[in-house]
Amino acid sequence: MFTTNTEEIPGKTITRCFGVVSGSTVRAKHAGRDLMASLKNIFGGELKGYTELLCESRDEAIERMKSQAKQMGANAIVNVRFSTSSVAAGAAEIYVYGTAVAAE
């Protein structure tokens, strides 16, 4: 199952299209990461804890989208788009969506 964020897959032809598929996760940080973040608020710099957290969430969301596409019988997802939003205090929601296709 491969994913691209282009219209077409370079080097392949799309034979069938199954519609939009999506994957989403909502992840919360824990108190420990929060503490580090407050310290960083004084000193500045990359919040490695949060970066890791969002990275994991994105990977999981992509996995969910792929599994949904597989259920429909697709073997590729094109036009993948990401969207992040905060839906609760301290929790971020990652949403990935794309068009599931069968490509050869």
């Binding site: 069938r16 299209c17 199954f18 999506s22 989403s24 969910r64 949904q68």
Partner: protein, 268 residues
Amino acid sequence: MKEAKFQGILPTHNDNVSHDHPLKEFTTLLLGAVGLILLAYWLLGFAVDGAVAHISPETEEQLFAKFDLPLADKLVDDPEDQARLQHLTDQLRPFVSVAYPVKVLIFKSSMANAFALPGGYMAISTEMLAKVKSENGLAFVIAHELAHFHNRDHLRGMGRGIVMTALAAAVTGPNSSLSRLLAPTSQFGQAQYSQARESLADQTAITALNGYYGHVGGVDEFFTQMIGMPEHPVLQPFASHPQLKRRIERLEQLRVKNGWQVKAVTPY
């Protein structure tokens, strides 16, 4: 994409949600949070004990000189009674190894109670004075409170009370009924701890009485008086004092173990 044929299919199962029961998650998380709070309280208790060890009576007097006395509005001004109690207290002090002065105050209350307060004050209620008939019984109560001073229990209790209030305020907010309930005195959270300290104070008191009077007659007078009062069996573990019967039994065991005598009591 123009050549692609569309095939409308719906996924068979929804992967974007978890299928665990939310109540199960709720119970697990709640138990985890409660466990964390209890752990924090237990660990901070050690810090309190450590801090209390470093507060000498002189420091304590200076620290609390500026504070308003609790029960200040209920104090009774009876110079004669106060002088007698103060005299008895001063006599008993050396037998409990309390070398610094402890000031006795009388407060009005319908419950028979006595408190050891930070700053070196001992407060005895009017009801207590009414209930206890003999000097020995009263001396036991005074010696018990003096023992708390010696063991720095009044500071420990206050310290733990502050920790408990701080934790409650951190979780539920400072204005919640829980925080307000816990604020004034150390409540059920630290009862088991207190029960051990209370037994220790009982032990010290009876030994002191034997030293002062030469016998242990009348020590359980207060308890036997109180035995008529109803006790709440379910909340007992959370009460800060062990059950009355158990206290009497323990005192009796100590008396037998040490071979102390029981003689006639001096009326008050």
